[in-house]
Structures are given as structure tokens and as C-alpha cells.
């Protein structure tokens, strides 16, 4: 029972961390970044590089975040910016980017599955149940990501401008907010978060050039039912992630893998605002 509850909480934490970058990009830029899977993969391979260089495993996170931010900056400037007014095309272009990232990684690192060293190993006892320390650490990591975004949005000038752009971009521009700049910074941060999440999840399994795709689909679904709100995203991750854990445990892991996709699609059909208050 304890293990099940912990599974649900840690799964929700992982899903939250993975989806947060997609959420802020959708919120501010109003485009779905299908290269999100590619950024997750970049993060995973950042961890691999750190492992191969023999550096401290904790360094994987800053390296991943920086790699994501830099790549995000280039992509925003040359690919995303011309597509602001064509949201459906942006989905396609970013999906193409995901392919490019996947192929480049295949060429550089090979297509085989590789393993990354975790900064924390071993297990601990929680209420009489032995549980992976790293998974517990991910709860803290997700909380830190959430806290970081919340602080950024609520306590900085950029956050204020970003919130203005989310609510009414035209008006924000009219008030002298450089919405292009806000978009650029947001995309970089979103890409950095995605990459960081990639580094966070790889010690749980392994890295391969297409590791991002299954995550992308789940993250995409979670973000759509959250109507651009961090609180809703947390609710969605907990509810749908919890359902996924329950279905995987009690019915079948194969059906479990579909839980989020199916439930989210049905939820949006019944209630287009999803977990948000629409």
C-alpha cells in the first residue's frame, strides 16, 4: 500500500517535471512544442556525457539545463519565430525538429540503449517499505521546479510580463511590453526545463535516441487538460498519473501506458477546460 502511494506520488512528480516546460511554452507562445521530446532526449544525453566524462553525477542537471537553453535560443530565433501565427504548422515544424535532434543524437552516440549514473543510489525505508531513494528525490526536484516557475512568474518583472502576454498579448504589446522578448526567454526556459527533466528521468531507465517520444505524448495530454495553470498541471499529473499507476499495477502495464492519453482525450471531450476553471 505504501509502495503504491509512493509510486503514485513519484510518478506524478516525474510527469509534472516533464510537462512543465511544455506548459509554459504553450501558455506564453500559444504553440505546442513537439520538439519537447527532443529536448528531453538532449537532457538524457547530457547525463550520459557527464557520466562518460567521469564528472560528478550532480553536474548532469546544470549541464542539461544549459544545453536545453542554448539550443532553445537558436531554435526560437530561426524556427519558432516565423511560425507565431501558424500554430498548427508550429506543431509540424517542431515535430520535424524532434526528428532532426533524434537523428543527430543517433549519428553522434549510436542508436543503442545506454545507461546513466544516478547521483543518488540505494533505497530507504518509508513506513516499513523499502523504496528507491532516487524516486523520492524526484519529488523534491519536481517541487523545486514548481517553486522556481512560481517564483519566476510571481516575483520577477519577466514573470509579470509573461502573465500579461498569457492573458492578452495585443494589449501587453500596446502597453510597451516587448512580447517578442518574453516569448524568446520563455521558449529558452521551457527548453531548459524539458532538458533538465530529461536528465532527471534517465537514471530511472536508460537513454536512447527516441526516448522522448512516449514522454512527449503524455506530457502533451497533461498540458492540454491543465489549461495553462501550474496548479491544474499538478492536479492532472496526480490524477491521471495516479490512474496510470493503478491501471498498470492492477490491470496490465500495456493498458496502463494508454491511461493518460485515453483519459485526457475523454476528459477534454466532456469538459474542454480540463482541470482548469473554465
Amino acid at each position: 500500500m505504501t509502495a503504491l502511494v509512493l509510486d503514485i506520488i513519484t510518478t506524478a512528480a516525474i510527469l509534472f517535471a516533464v510537462a512543465s516546460g511544455l506548459l509554459i511554452i504553450l501558455g506564453v507562445l500559444k504553440i505546442v512544442n513537439f520538439a519537447h521530446g527532443g529536448f528531453l532526449t538532449i537532457g538524457g544525453y547530457s547525463g550520459l556525457v557527464v557520466t562518460q566524462l567521469g564528472w560528478n553525477a550532480w553536474l548532469a542537471y546544470p549541464v542539461a539545463a544549459v544545453a536545453g537553453i542554448l539550443l532553445g535560443a537558436v531554435i526560437e530565433r530561426f524556427i519558432i519565430r516565423p511560425l507565431y501565427d501558424r500554430p498548427l504548422d508550429a506543431i509540424l515544424a517542431t515535430w520535424g525538429l524532434g526528428i532532426i535532434i533524434g537523428q543527430l543524437i543517433t549519428i553522434v552516440f549510436g542508436r543503442e540503449i545506454q545507461f546513466v549514473q544516478a547521483p543518488i543510489t540505494g533505497a530507504t525505508t518509508v513506513i516499513g517499505e523499502t523504496y528507491s531513494l532516487y524516486r523520492l528525490f524526484l519529488i523534491a526536484a519536481a517541487a523545486m521546479v514548481a517553486g522556481g516557475i512560481a517564483a519566476l512568474m510571481n516575483a520577477t518583472r519577466l514573470g509579470l510580463e509573461a502573465r500579461a502576454v498569457i492573458m492578452n498579448e495585443q494589449l501587453a504589446r500596446g502597453l510597451g511590453i516587448n512580447s517578442g522578448h518574453v516569448r524568446f526567454v520563455t521558449f529558452c526556459i521551457g527548453a531548459g526545463l524539458a532538458s533538465l527533466a530529461g536528465a532527471l528521468i534517465t537514471p530511472l531507465s536508460s537513454v536512447d535516441p527516441n526516448m522522448g517520444v512516449p514522454w512527449l505524448v503524455n506530457a502533451f495530454m497533461l498540458v492540454l487538460v491543465s489549461s495553462v495553470s501550474l496548479v491544474s498541471l499538478a492536479t492532472a499529473a496526480l490524477t491521471l498519473g495516479g490512474a496510470q499507476v493503478l491501471v498498470s499495477t492492477f490491470i496490465s502495464p500495456v493498458i496502463g501506458g494508454l491511461t493518460i492519453v485515453v483519459l485526457a482525450a475523454l476528459l477534454l471531450r466532456i469538459r474542454p477546460a480540463g482541470f482548469g476553471n473554465g
Binding site: F78, Q103, M221, V262, A264, A265
Partner: protein
């Protein structure tokens, strides 16, 4: 009205005149090529091309859905897979015979039609965002592949089914059959998308909201289209399974679904020929290159794809086409674009208007409310309107006038109260249904179909009343007298071949009015029909409206800011203020009211004009 007498030739668009001959000869040439192909090409290329033809057929269905109708779909892969697996499973477990071959084909068609129907029903509903359909069609192949995995040995799980008995045909025979099939499919689809009904698809892509207010049941059109396209994709998948003697989850996967979309985008969405040629070119090239440079090839395709989406969103074929056209006109000194055949206008037979002969009020609104959360935009709105009444609705900005129009024309909008037309409650009916009750609505900001011609726009408005041709253009366009009066009085009847985006603002407003009138409504809702018009245009529209109301007994509600204009044409005026009816009375009563002047001019008394 501004008169656009000189129309540049390039603004007009090709239509039906003598389409049969060129289309037939091109198709004939292509069929000859597919028969000659096996003798001219090496065995490997022939082998690959069969597969490319089948992929191209699937890409064609994506083009109809996405390129023409605007439904971004990743789901066609799943239907291709359903057709393929229907064949693979049937032939593996029941062996191959002519009977099982038919059985497998029918099973694939039925299964894909059912799945597409369900997918469509989930994806397309009143108020669904275009992104939502993309999500559902993205989930579909993912679910399909998981179902295959769960099938265990029955579906062959991740390795699929191999080596069943199949059609005893040579590769050359497959080439000819699939080639001819693709040519026929492309030709038939070409006639379909260029027909009057094809214009409905484009209209849905351009402005679905406007379509529903013209009484076009856009969700149903999309669902039916998805079912038909799914069935076509399933036949292609069936042939694929018969030809390759292998079915694996990859052919129904999300990745294949995105590849189809990529091929369509690269070739040129909404061109049919672009996706077909694009798919064949890319598939053949990748068959040659992926052996030597597997990852680099995918990298190149991905890079070209991103580049095309960003720089050439229309794809490669349209660019080639316009280049060739320019060369042609430079070489011959003639314009390569033939003129447009304009349908002849004719008199529509007098249809029985909704509510004709009914004693009940044309429009009866009781206790209508609309709130967004705690914000009440309309509250307790109650009034009746009769035929032959021209009811002016005035009030300051934010009074809820446009919201009122929305609540009257869309059964899902109001949060409380009832709306009845001729004694029938509109209940929770989407706009396309409310049109059937007899409502016609024009919008505050002109809402048209930018790339359709004037004639096509008017024909869309007749979709509900007249049959729409699926494979050709009707030679005539029947319009009711009122709509014809508007277009002749404003000179639009001479601009029938012009695309709407080239019309002047005044003409657009007039065209929208004509479209609403072509619906033969009994209750007309006009949201600032004269906004942004010149004085003379305004007078013209005003006199047309008064004439309509008096002669045809239309019940008309008109939102206007110009008090003088309202006073001239109205028979009664309702004043809305902060979501409530403040005054409902004759023109003299309302215009003379001190209260109205106070609201309208702000605090006029306290602050005398400078």
C-alpha cells in the same frame, strides 16, 4: 459601392469549363505510364514503387482531410494499419481464397469505418478546437499499436505477421493494378475537391464558425469525410498487406502517421498531386539512400521538412507550378490561367419560410441570461418580436448586444431562460440547427471565406436548401429575390468570380447580407450591418432592409450605434444597458427618453459639451 470594373486576370480562378477533357487525358497518360512502367524500370524500382503508390493513396486521404478541410490528422496510419491487419489476420488464420480475400477487404472497410466514425464523433463537436482533433487522431495510432501488442501471438505482437498466403500476382501486375488504382483515385478525388461540395470543405477550413451559421453541419461533414477517407486508407493498407506479405505495428503507428503528414506538407497540401508525387519521390529516394545513409537520410528529410514548413508552407509543387506558369506565359505571351466560368443567377423557387402561417411570435425571448462565472453579461432579458417588425437594439459598448445575438442564434450560449421561434423552443441546438428554425445572422466583424469567390460564398449559403453537387459545378445559382436585390443594387453581381478577400469593405458587408438573405430566414439578426460604411452605402442598405421587412414580413433585429440610422429604419427600439432591457418602446418614446440620452452620452448633464 466602390466599383471594381477592371479585374486583373490573376485574381480569377480556374473552374469547371471543359475540365473533363484535360483531366481525362492526364489520367490516361498516367495509366499508360503505369502499364509501360514495368518494361522501362528495373525490378527493384518497380518493387519499391508499388509500395510508394499505396503510401501515396494514404497521403492523398491526409491531403483531403488536412490540406482541403483543415483537419490535421495523424490517424490515417491507423486506418492503413487496420486494412493491412484485416488482410494479414484473415489470411494467416483462414488461409487465402477468393472468399477470404473479399471477407478481409470488407472486414477492413467496416472496422476502419466504425473506428473513424467513433474518432470523428469524439473529435468534432460544436465548439471543438482544431487542436483537439489533432490530439485524438494522434492518440488513435498509439492505441492501435498497443492493441496489437496486447494481441500477443494472435496479432504477432511487435514482430507482426509474416508469410501468409496471398494473391498470386507478379510484381508487374501489382505495379499496374496499384498504379491504375492510384490514378483513378487521384482523378476521382480531384473532381470531388473541385466540385461545389469541395468548396464546402474549403469553407470549413477557412471559417468553420461562419459555415455553421449558414446552416452547414460542419461536424457531420467532417465525420463523414473522415469515415470515407479512413475506408480509402484501409483499402491501401489491405493492398499493402497483400503485396508485401508482412504486416507489422509500424505501418499503423504514430510515426507513420506523422510521416504521411510530412509527405503531404512537402509535396504541397491542398494540391492532391503534390502529396502523391511527394510521397512517391520521397519513398523511392529513401529506399535507395536509406541503405547507405540510414540516419543521414532521415536527418536530411527532417531538415527539408522544417525548412519547407517555415519558408514554403504551401509545399514544393505549388512553387514549381507557379514557376512553370510564369515560364509558359513568358514563352507564349498568354496568360496560363483561364478565366472563371461564372454560374448564371436564377430565381430560387419561393421556399416555405420557417414559421410561415404560425400565429406565435416570430421570436419570443423569456428571462434570457448569460453569465461567465460570476460576471453577468445578460440578465432577465424578455421581449417578443413579430414578423414585419424592424427592431433596433441599441445600448452603449458592453451592454450585451452582441452576446444577445449569440444567445439567439446558438442554443449552447445562454445560461438561463428560453428562446422560442414561432412557438418552438430552440433548446440546446447548435447554430447549424438554429438556422433551420429560420434564423439568419450576420456578424459584427465581416465574416466571409477569404479564398472563395463571391459566387462560391453565395452557393454555400444555399447549401441547406439546395442539393450540392459532389463531383461537378452546378451551372446556375438560384437565389431568392431579396438576396438578388442586394447583390444587384450593390454591384456585386458583376464580381461573382472575384475572391472575397479582394472585395472592398462595403462590398464584403453587402455580400454577407446577401448570404444571410440567401438562407431565406424568417428572423434576421444583423450586428452592425453598416459599420464602417459610407453615408450612401448606409442609406442603400437601410432602404433595402426597410423594403425587405415591409414586403416579405421578415422579423429583423438590428444592432446599431448610429441613433439617426436606427431612428430612420426601425419600427421599435430596445435599449440594453448593463445586460438588462432598460426600455422597450416605439422609436419616438425611446429617442425622446431622457434616460437614454444620459446613458448614451455618459454623464451629459453634469459635463456640458465644450
Amino acid at each position: 459601392m466602390a466599383d471594381l470594373t477592371t479585374i486583373p486576370e490573376t485574381l480569377t480562378r480556374q473552374t469547371s469549363s471543359g475540365r473533363l477533357v484535360p483531366a481525362g487525358s492526364i489520367a490516361g497518360l498516367c495509366i499508360a505510364a503505369t502499364i509501360a512502367g514495368p518494361y522501362l524500370l528495373d525490378a527493384y524500382t518497380v518493387n519499391i514503387l508499388v509500395r510508394s503508390f499505396l503510401y501515396a493513396a494514404a497521403a492523398l486521404t491526409v491531403d483531403v482531410l488536412w490540406g482541403y478541410t483543415g483537419i490535421l490528422t495523424f490517424g490515417q496510419a491507423a486506418f492503413f494499419g487496420i486494412g493491412a491487419y484485416a488482410a494479414g489476420i484473415t489470411f494467416t488464420y483462414m488461409d487465402f481464397s477468393p472468399q477470404t480475400a473479399v471477407l478481409a477487404l470488407v472486414a477492413g472497410l467496416v472496422a476502419s469505418a466504425v473506428v473513424a466514425g467513433i474518432t470523428g464523433w469524439i473529435s468534432f463537436f460544436h465548439g471543438a478546437s482544431p487542436l483537439y482533433a489533432a490530439i485524438v487522431t494522434l492518440a488513435l495510432p498509439i492505441i492501435f499499436v498497443q492493441v496489437l501488442y496486447s494481441g500477443g501471438t494472435f496479432t504477432g505482437s511487435s514482430s507482426g505477421l509474416v508469410g501468409y498466403n496471398t494473391f498470386d500476382l507478379s510484381v508487374e501486375a501489382w505495379f499496374t493494378i496499384c498504379g491504375i488504382g492510384l490514378v483513378l483515385l487521384t482523378t476521382a478525388t480531384w473532381f470531388f475537391v473541385n466540385s461545389d461540395f469541395g468548396r464546402v470543405l474549403v469553407a470549413i477550413r477557412e471559417n468553420e464558425q461562419r459555415c455553421t451559421y449558414l446552416g452547414i453541419n460542419a461536424p457531420r461533414v467532417k465525420i463523414l469525410l473522415m469515415v470515407v477517407m479512413a475506408m480509402i486508407a484501409s483499402v491501401a493498407g489491405y493492398a499493402y498487406a497483400g503485396y508485401t506479405v508482412v504486416v507489422a505495428p509500424e505501418i499503423g503507428s504514430f510515426v507513420f502517421g506523422t510521416e504521411l503528414v510530412m509527405w503531404v506538407a512537402l509535396g504541397g497540401r491542398g494540391t492532391l498531386i503534390g502529396p502523391v508525387l511527394g510521397t512517391i519521390a520521397i519513398d523511392v529516394t529513401s529506399a535507395y539512400l536509406s541503405g547507405n545513409l540510414p540516419y543521414v537520410w532521415k536527418l536530411i528529410i527532417g531538415s527539408i521538412f522544417v525548412l519547407v514548413i517555415v519558408v514554403l508552407p504551401q509545399g514544393i509543387v505549388p512553387v514549381l507550378k507557379s514557376g512553370l506558369r510564369r515560364l509558359w506565359s513568358a514563352a507564349t505571351g498568354r496568360d496560363a490561367v483561364p478565366g472563371v466560368a461564372v454560374p448564371a443567377l436564377s430565381e430560387a423557387p419561393e421556399a416555405r419560410r420557417a414559421g410561415a402561417g404560425s400565429d406565435a411570435a416570430a421570436l419570443a425571448v423569456a428571462d434570457l441570461a448569460r453569465s461567465y462565472g460570476s460576471l453577468k453579461v445578460l440578465e432577465g432579458v424578455t421581449f417578443k418580436a413579430l414578423g414585419s417588425e424592424l427592431l433596433g437594439i441599441i445600448g452603449p459598448n458592453g451592454a450585451g448586444k452582441t452576446t444577445l445575438m449569440r444567445c439567439l442564434s446558438d442554443g449552447y450560449e445562454r445560461t438561463g431562460g428560453t428562446v422560442a421561434m414561432f412557438g418552438r423552443m430552440i433548446a440546446r441546438t447548435p447554430p447549424q440547427g438554429v438556422v433551420g428554425f429560420g434564423i439568419g445572422r450576420s456578424f459584427q466583424t465581416t465574416s466571409l471565406f477569404e479564398t472563395l469567390t463571391v459566387a462560391e460564398c453565395l452557393r454555400l449559403a444555399r447549401y441547406r436548401l439546395n442539393k450540392t453537387r459532389m463531383l461537378s459545378h452546378a451551372p446556375t445559382l438560384a437565389l431568392p429575390a431579396s438576396a438578388r436585390h442586394v447583390i444587384t443594387a450593390t454591384g456585386i453581381d458583376r464580381q461573382l468570380a472575384i475572391e472575397c478577400r479582394h472585395l472592398s469593405h462595403g462590398m464584403k458587408r453587402a455580400l454577407e447580407l446577401a448570404m444571410v438573405l440567401a438562407l431565406e430566414p424568417s428572423v434576421l439578426l444583423l450586428d452592425e450591418p453598416t459599420a464602417g460604411l459610407t453615408k450612401s452605402e448606409r442609406t442603400l442598405i437601410g432602404s433595402i432592409l426597410v423594403d425587405l421587412v415591409q414586403r416579405e414580413g421578415l422579423c429583423t433585429l438590428i444592432i446599431e450605434h448610429d441613433l439617426d440610422f436606427v431612428r430612420e429604419i426601425s419600427t421599435r427600439i430596445i435599449v440594453l444597458h448593463q445586460g438588462k432591457i432598460l426600455l422597450d418602446g416605439s422609436v419616438a418614446e425611446v429617442v425622446g427618453s431622457e434616460l437614454v440620452r444620459t446613458i448614451y452620452a455618459g454623464a451629459a448633464q453634469q459635463r456640458p459639451a465644450p
